[in-house]
Symmetry: C2
Subunit: 156 residues, 2 copies
DNA sequence: AAAAATTAATTGCATATACAACTAATTTTT
DNA sequence: AAAAATTAGTTGTATATGCAATTAATTTTT
């Protein structure tokens, strides 16, 4: 059978997928090689917390663009690793405020130069203009697919 | 605490992550809304099989750039959904050849116009030049981070 | 031919993700 | 104040992913 989706190769989709897959693998590996026991996702959460400590889980889920169930389990993992703590609100017992721990702050700080170096590696040989253009295109993509998220698949 | 990773926003990394996340969500949702019961990953596998039917699992894992354990479980799911079948080799009983089923071929064919429309949506308002430039940058990224990875599961 | 090494695939354990259904707490209605 | 609706978070079930260890089959050594 011939490749019924051959045209796809001229679109950004498969290349985005491949690049992301490569980056994910590289970053995880790079962190590990540097002795940084953090996943990319955990780093994202820590970074958000460093700017917005003590958020209710649901807020955090929103900021991290993740499902609240996903966040629940992420926080489980991160609490187990002593990166964050849950603190039940006294005003509203339903709410868990999530705080970054000392240990979490330490790891985040340690991550900074490692992330910096990893990014340099990833963007090696790519010009400033190319980076800016690419970011601009990526923003357009996000806008395209997020804009009418709620109604999107219906109108086509 | 100030954002110790604020610089990151000027790199492609977070924008790539956000765009991919948005795309993944959009595609899954779009497929579902179109009544296409396939995940993105399953479509990738079907596409590879349509070009290379009857591959041993391990080969397929290589072509799909996935771990062989990941492939094992993917094939479990896809076999359950009657998209593919495992056929033990007579020459070497360790090997499972993976074949796309009639049903799988049907879904793949049905997917073609849907994928096409989804991609149009995703790339809406982005010029041909921008797409080409972006693909070129994405290829550079993959090259940068794959260079000595696994001796590069490249082209395709 | 028997022992050792290699290979293909699977299973155990772990992370990450999301929808649906649920529990418990709070707020809004009546 | 009691009933109804809403809200925050968790649990069940599902997909996807990968490393380490295992099993079973084949090939290579001795």
């Amino acid at each position: 059978m011939k490749d019924v989706l051959a045209d796809l190769e001229n679109t950004m989709l498969p290349w985005l997928g491949r690049a992301m897959k490569s980056i994910d693998f590289f970053v995880l590996d790079y962190f590990h090689a540097c002795g940084l026991e953090l996943t990319k996702t955990q780093l994202i959460i820590l970074r958000i917390l460093s700017k917005n400590d003590g958020q209710p889980q649901q807020n955090l889920a929103f900021l991290a663009k993740r499902d609240k169930t996903s966040l629940t389990r992420l926080i489980n993992t991160m609490e187990r690793k002593k990166l964050v703590t849950r603190v039940q609100s006294k005003d509203d017992k339903r709410i868990n405020h999530i705080y970054i721990t000392q240990n979490g702050q330490g790891l985040l700080k340690a991550a900074v130069p490692i992330v910096k170096k990893a990014v340099e590696e990833i963007q090696k040989g790519i010009t400033k203009e190319e980076i800016e253009q690419t970011i601009s295109v990526l923003k357009k993509i996000s806008k395209n697919v997020n804009a009418d998220e709620l109604t999107a698949p219906l109108n086509h």
